[in-house]
């Protein structure tokens, strides 16, 4: 028994031998896994928005030519932005709604805290109620709601109507008839002068 066969009888292995080999085995496997993950990440991350896409951060819009009751659509980050100069009647209709009656009680306004309620004040431009600026994308599956051009059907709430699955939005862009789960989003924007805004 000068040279016992440790490969068939584990009880003959000295404890410290076993643990030292395990460390090498686990260590080698662990480093291989880390190396693999480090190589996998660039292969996945290359699909995220690239530098030129991220650089398209902001858009300036001149509001001066938009008469009351008119609406325009501009592009920001490839998305349509609805800008509507609302009539007094439209503002009044939007103000008269109780937040409890809404499908989505949150303002969805990137310029306000996430939990701001969906009052008309929180949806419209600050201190400039007639102006409504929002991302013109139905929150259901991403279609563009109708209601910007004159003569288009605006739905039962006088705002926007999505032709894809029949969602309806009111004059503050809040969803009133599903299947859309949320109000249309308000992008981050600021008034740089009385008649100019910067989106983004």
């Amino acid at each position: 028994m000068a040279n016992p066969d440790t490969s068939t009888d584990p009880s003959l292995l000295k404890d410290d031998d076993a643990s030292r080999r395990d460390v090498i085995l686990i260590g080698a496997g662990g480093f291989a896994a880390i190396g693999g993950a480090a190589m996998l990440w660039p292969l996945l991350d290359q699909m995220n928005p690239d530098a030129s896409t991220l650089s398209l951060a902001s858009t300036d819009v001149d509001l001066a030519p938009i008469e009351e009751g008119q609406a325009i659509t501009v592009m920001w980050r490839g998305k349509p932005i609805f800008i509507r100069h609302r009539t007094a009647k439209e503002v009044e209709e939007a103000t008269g709604v109780k937040v409890d009656d809404l499908i989505d009680p949150l303002a969805r306004n990137a310029n306000l805290p996430d939990d701001a309620p969906a009052t008309d004040d929180n949806r419209a431009a600050p201190e400039r109620e007639p102006w409504l600026v929002m991302i013109g994308i139905c929150t259901h599956l991403g279609c563009i709601p109708q209601g910007q051009a004159p003569g288009q059907y605006k739905g039962d709430y006088g705002g926007w109507f999505c032709p894809c699955h029949g969602s309806q939005y009111d004059t503050a862009g809040r969803v009133r008839v599903g299947p859309a789960p949320q109000n249309m989003y308000i992008p981050p924007y600021t008034f740089t002068s009385d008649t100019k805004i910067t989106i983004g």
Binding site: M47, N48, P49, T53, M75, K79, L141, G142, H165
Partner: protein, 413 residues
């Protein structure tokens, strides 16, 4: 049936080759003398048809890729250029587009054949699971291919379907948005999106071809199922694959190609949507987004469920549930022909799938929505409730003693 090799190399060259790379031996054993049940009907010819269609799509696809430009400015025009200027471009483009429809037609017939005759039951579960995987890959590939035309339907189909993933925001805020922007490569469907869809539309068919090889391999271990569902017992129950089934499959393929040819040459746009001849416009959504016909039943399920996330789960679950069919069906009898109760539910399920297809093409309002919900309920009830329960309570009809008896009558041995 994994059968012993009968290959006998007869020349010196064959012996030399066989001892180094036995490829001729494999072809001989698996595709010439392979023992195949003698009672297969014409529903068994669709596997061959599907292999052919995969080849058609890969060959026409590679040649179209030589002329197609995957940019928002170039895509739509390059497809029109293929139609007008490229030699035979109109034929190749229509063959690829109609080919996708024919591919799905054959795939659905093939899948229903498997469901009718219990081809998913032991010992063919892995064969079935690989088949469902191929179906999923086909759906992804066809979806990406449709987007490449960059017409109105292309653009808005991509927008709507990728937006499905944004529903994950309901579970973990931000997860869905992050995932969708990763798919898009931006903040909206655009140039980056089109470019990567092109790359992946090229890649996926080769993954499909790889899984098809595994699928055929998994078929050749247990051997073919047959319309009785009774196992092969003696060599008398089988005939060699070649020439008996190569000729039969070839004949069925010719019949299938006649249908393909009629659509291709006389009604190439019959199955497509006219709006895809309008160039993509990110500012205007067509009034009705209607997917290609082969997606309609799943689209109907999506819209029948009023919740965004649950709708997406329903859409994916509509295919995902197929993975579990081998374990949901509790009956010990394979073929529906010998299952007197189950067969009624089965044919109602077939009608349900066709009805969901029709409902998917209509606006989700009023009665259409009501029947869409009813159809969706039955679709899942069939798999999750009816399959397990009927299998347990049903008394099956008497099975024939052997495949040969089912063909030649009970007196034959």
């Amino acid at each position: 049936m994994a059968h012993p090799s009968t290959y006998k190399p007869s020349t010196g060259i064959e012996r030399w080759f066989d001892s180094r790379l036995p490829l001729p031996r494999m072809m001989h054993d698996q595709f010439m003398v392979f023992p195949t049940p003698r009672n297969l009907n014409y529903w068994w010819t669709f596997g061959g048809i599907l292999s052919f269609m995969l080849a058609v799509q890969i060959v026409t696809g590679i040649v179209l890729a030589m002329h197609y430009v995957p940019t928002p400015e170039g895509a739509f025009d390059s497809v029109e250029k293929i139609m007008r200027d490229v030699n035979w471009g109109w034929l190749l483009r229509y063959a690829h587009a109609v080919g996708a429809s024919m591919f799905f037609l054959a795939a659905y017939v093939h899948t229903f054949r498997g469901l009718i005759y219990g081809s998913y039951k032991a010992p063919r579960e892995i064969l079935w699971i690989l088949g469902v995987l191929i179906l999923l890959l086909m759906i992804a590939t066809a979806f990406m291919g449709y987007s490449l035309v960059w017409g109105q339907m292309s653009f808005w189909a991509v927008t709507v379907i990728t937006n499905l993933f944004s529903s994950l925001d309901t579970l973990i805020p931000g997860l869905g948005t992050t995932l969708v922007q990763w798919i898009w490569g931006g903040f909206s469907v655009g140039a980056r999106t089109l470019n990567r869809l092109f790359a992946l539309h090229y890649l996926f068919p080769f993954i499909i071809a790889g899984v098809v090889i595994l699928h055929i391999w998994a078929l050749h271990i247990p051997g073919n199922n047959n319309p009785t569902g009774v196992d092969v017992k003696t060599p008398k129950d089988t005939v060699p694959f070649h020439p008996y089934y190569t000729i039969k499959d070839g004949f069925a393929l010719v019949m299938f190609l006649i249908l393909f040819g009629v659509l291709l040459f006389y009604a190439p746009n019959f199955l497509g949507h006219a709006d895809n001849y309008i160039e993509a416009n990110p500012l205007q959504t067509p009034p009705h987004i209607v997917p290609e016909w082969y997606f309609l039943p799943f689209y109907a399920i999506l819209r029948a469920i009023p919740d965004k996330l649950l709708g997406v789960i329903g859409l994916i679950g509509g295919i995902g549930v197929l993975f579990f069919v081998p374990w949901l069906d509790t009956s010990r009898v394979r073929s529906t022909s010998y299952r007197p109760i189950y067969k009624w539910f089965f044919w109602l399920f077939v009608i349900d799938c066709v009805a969901l297809g029709y409902l998917g093409s209509q606006a989700p309002e009023g009665w259409y929505l009501f029947f869409g919900r009813l159809g969706t309920f039955y679709y899942f009830a069939f798999f999750l409730i009816i399959m397990p329960i009927v299998g347990l309570i049903e008394r099956p009809k008497k099975l024939p003693g052997s495949i040969t008896q089912s063909v030649l009558g009970p007196e034959s041995k």
